[in-house]
């Protein structure tokens, strides 16, 4: 009997393998993965050179696992298994308490490069009013939501270190984020960005530092535009057991705007690209995701002053507050803007203010900021 049983087991296992091989062959191949927010490897071309360098096989390997049937389901099986085995972090994401997924923060490697780069930039333009806003992430603001016994590298130490070596204005938002986190959610549960509330309270802090008269929260028409937002941390961890995020827009109808996506030849009158709400990456609703250069004009404000904001994606939901205080907001993302930012600011003589807005996690990881000079 035992022998027959073994044979049945072996046949079952073989059928499983053959089934998934066939499913692979006959299934449609997606070009782009919404869940992972990246292009899948297309079938590589077979050329002599490709083979000789070993590139062909690497790409073929990626092709096979990218297009594996039910890839997302398998990834979530893996996460469920790891959770069952007691893992409390998966793929660089802590499985936090109260529905929070929290991205890890590693010891920064580029502090001094960043400081040097910012100070040099300031020196090149030192007649302008320049500020730096480094935003701590969920791991600091929601430290109490981390799994027990996690002792992350302290972000505030990094911020303090950079701030104490910077020759221009710095804006501390960690206190206000911590304070207001009690009443409103400052960070998304399943995405690495801050919420519109987080951006709003940091805008108040910016305004206080720059003597701008702020707009009270009650003047905004706060609208929930999505309740099914599963962000980047959801995709990274593949932990599908959590409640989705809600996205709020702070609408303000006093002004009309003109938004010019300079390098994409696109002009519109809205700060929000609502079509993204039907897709996976819903945070892109704010200013149509990242662009090299966006110029936003406030059509009916009286002031003539203009501001340049050099930023990462954290600024995307912050800028809608800023546009109510300047004639023009020039939004520059150094990851994509490859010309001289200094020249750009010098050429646009009405720019009297410059704001650097970054979250402390990406400023160290992407090389945008060290290339600004």
């Amino acid at each position: 009997m035992r022998n027959i049983y073994n044979k049945i087991i072996v046949i079952t296992l073989s059928l499983f393998i053959i089934l998934f091989t066939c499913l692979f062959i006959f299934s449609d191949k997606l070009k782009f993965s919404e869940n992972e927010n990246r292009y899948f490897q297309p079938l590589p071309k077979l050329t002599f050179n490709n083979i000789k360098k070993g590139e062909y096989t690497t790409k073929l390997q990626n092709y096979l696992s990218d297009h594996f049937y039910a890839r997302n389901n398998f990834m979530s099986i893996k996460t469920s298994y790891e959770k069952l085995m007691g893992k409390k972090d998966i793929n660089g994401v802590y499985l936090g308490k109260d529905n929070y997924l929290i991205e890890k923060y590693d010891k920064p490697l580029n502090n001094d490069k960043i400081i040097e780069s910012l100070n040099n930039f300031y020196q090149a333009l030192n007649y302008t009013n320049m500020s730096l806003m480094l935003v701590p992430t969920s791991i600091t603001i929601n430290a109490d939501k981390l799994p027990n016994y996690v002792e992350p590298y302290v972000q505030l130490d990094t911020i303090d270190y950079i701030y104490s070596n910077i020759n221009f204005n710095t804006i501390d938002v960690s206190k206000t984020l911590k304070e207001n986190n009690k009443n409103y959610q400052m960070f998304y549960y399943l995405d690495h960005h801050w919420t519109t509330y987080g951006a709003y309270y940091s805008y108040l802090e910016y305004a206080k530092n720059n003597l701008i008269k702020t707009i009270p929260i009650t003047d905004f028409n706060i609208t929930e535009v999505a309740n099914d937002f599963n962000g980047t941390l959801y995709s990274k961890s593949n932990d599908y057991s959590r409640e989705s995020d809600r996205i709020h827009l702070f609408l303000y109808d006093k002004y009309k705007y003109h938004v010019n996506y300079v390098y994409h030849k696109k002009e519109t009158d809205t700060l929000y690209e609502m079509s993204y709400l039907d897709k996976k990456d819903k945070y892109a609703v704010f200013l149509d995701n990242n662009h090299p250069l966006i110029v936003i004009t406030n059509e009916n404000i009286k002031t003539k002053t203009e501001i340049a904001i050099i930023k990462d994606s954290y600024a995307n939901n912050f800028i809608p507050f800023l546009v109510n205080h300047f004639k023009k907001v020039h939004v520059i993302d150094p990851r994509f803007y490859k010309l001289s930012i200094i020249d750009y600011i010098k050429e646009n003589k009405s720019i009297k203010d410059v704001l650097f807005l970054y979250n402390i996690n990406t400023i160290d990881k992407d090389n945008g900021i060290v290339t600004i000079n």
């Binding site: 035992r2 296992l13 393998i17 696992s65 594996f68 010891k107």
Partner: protein, 470 residues
């Protein structure tokens, strides 16, 4: 290509097996050879020529030995061995040698930066054993080059062993039973190896990677020991998992390889450990180096010399760096001590002390093995033994331990012969109903583990190949 990957498991291997089983016997070696060459070329398209050359030398040697009145047998053997060793030496050790010369004579000869051909240490040893065995008339030389090449390049054991000697499979190369029984036992064995590699080794190996790459100033003593424990399990489950997969695939093809691991972590002394760890390597060195040098039937001082030669070579076989040499000599010293002094004491040890003694020394061995940077090795050793200001325990330790507790327990249980004991117990059951229940549990377990394994291969986040230096 590695076994634990989507291309191999879902495409290469099923396609190969299909062809292998439907073709008549006289084509089986040919299809095996073709697929083995594709398998090797997958990662090393150029170095395949090296393997063809190396095998050709030994094949020709075998043919020459066969001729009657062929006189210069010894000379030709030496030439063949010299070619093999210089190829291995050039591709594996030249940069190491240049570094040694540079630091000794204070010169700066530029490094060659040659990539190490995968599996060169394994197939060179196989092909050398053939020449020696033919010379010693232990085996008859192979007449057909392609059959010989099939033996050397056979993908199940090509890149990570075991080192299969020609005499083990010389008959099966020409005549073997390929049937569903072999397929069954072979595939189950293969699955065991796959699960060991993907579900245990990769999992626990990740813990070692995290701990060993964190800043040493931030590690506590307990975390350092946890890391070392993780590495000890990683290397065992990875390596023995590969051997299981190789042996299993061999069985599916009709070949019976010898066992390569025999529960090394239940060894009662270091001598015992080396009878259980990477058996094909230690017997290779025993039969082709230690015994020809005189083995132990010589003066004590020569015997000691022999042991050191064998263990220095064993060490450097594992990689071209000083830590591997030290690692080998470390075992040479312990084995010598056990042989001449410690044996009578160890025999009197209670059982738990024998195990503790052995495991502790083995773990320290892995510590040397793990770091090829001497500064890092020194730092990590200091933390392990509490030299310096690192705390004894911290919350990171509790965090890591709670994250990996279950997998560590599983790793401990499976490193003992638990599975075999349970299996033997179950075999005595003759009641049909119980048998059926056991069958249902087993089939569910296998299927579940295969699904989870597949999920790891699809996600493909951490799947290292540890033998790139061998």
């Amino acid at each position: 290509m590695v076994f634990s990957s989507i291309p191999f498991l879902f495409f290469f291997f099923p396609l190969f097996l299909f062809l292998y089983y439907i073709l008549p016997f006289k084509y089986k070696n040919k299809i095996l050879l073709i697929f083995s060459l594709i398998f090797y070329a997958w990662g090393e398209p150029v170095y395949i020529l090296l393997m063809l050359f190396s095998t050709f030398v030994d094949y020709m040697n075998g043919r020459l030995f066969e001729k009657k009145n062929f006189r210069n047998k010894k000379l030709y053997l030496i030439i063949a061995l010299a070619i093999n060793i210089s190829l291995l030496g050039f591709f594996k050790y030249s940069d190491f040698l240049i570094e040694v010369i540079n630091s000794l004579f204070n010169v700066s000869i530029p490094l060659l930066n040659i990539g190490l051909p995968i599996g060169i240490s394994f197939y060179t040893f196989q092909t050398m054993s053939y020449s020696i065995d033919v010379y010693r008339k232990n085996v008859k030389p192979e007449k057909n080059y392609f059959t010989y090449l099939t033996y050397i390049s056979m993908f199940p054991q090509l890149i990570a062993g075991p080192i299969v000697r020609y005499e083990t499979i010389s008959e099966e190369l020409h005549e073997r039973v390929v049937d569903f029984n072999g397929f069954t036992t072979g595939l189950l064995r293969f699955m065991h190896g796959l699960f060991k590699k993907v579900l245990i080794a990769n999992n626990i190996g990740y813990l070692w990677t995290v701990i060993s790459t964190s800043t040493t100033g931030e590690l506590s003593v307990m975390t350092a020991w946890l890391g070392l424990l993780a590495f000890s399990f990683q290397i065992y489950y990875d390596f023995s998992g590969y051997s299981d997969m190789a042996i299993g695939m061999g069985k599916m093809l009709g070949f019976n390889y010898l066992e390569n691991f025999n529960y090394p972590y239940i060894a009662t002394s270091i001598t015992d450990f080396w009878r259980r760890w990477h058996i094909s390597l230690s017997t290779w060195f025993k039969d082709y180096v230690y015994i020809p040098l005189g083995g132990s039937r010589v003066k004590k001082i020569i015997n000691i010399r022999n042991i050191f030669i064998v263990w220095a070579l064993t060490g450097i076989w594992h990689g071209a760096a000083w830590n591997f040499v030290i690692w080998g000599i470390y075992y040479g010293v312990i084995l010598l001590l056990e042989k001449f002094i410690l044996k009578e004491y160890i025999d009197k040890f209670p059982k738990w002390l024998k195990h503790t003694y052995t495991l502790l020394l083995v773990m320290i061995g892995w510590l040397i093995f793990a770091f090829d940077d001497m500064t890092l090795l020194g730092n990590y050793t200091n933390i392990l033994f509490g030299i310096g200001n690192n705390p004894f325990i911290d919350s990171s330790f509790i965090y890591y331990f709670s994250n990996y507790f279950i997998i560590i327990v599983i790793a401990i249980i499976l490193s003992m012969p638990t599975y075999h004991i349970i299996k033997d117990k179950l075999l005595t059951i003759k009641d049909e109903k119980t048998e059926l229940i056991i069958f249902i549990i087993r089939i569910m377990m296998y299927l579940l583990l295969l699904i989870i394994t597949t999920s790891y291969l699809v996600a493909d986040t951490y799947n290292p190949f540890l033998y790139f230096r061998f």
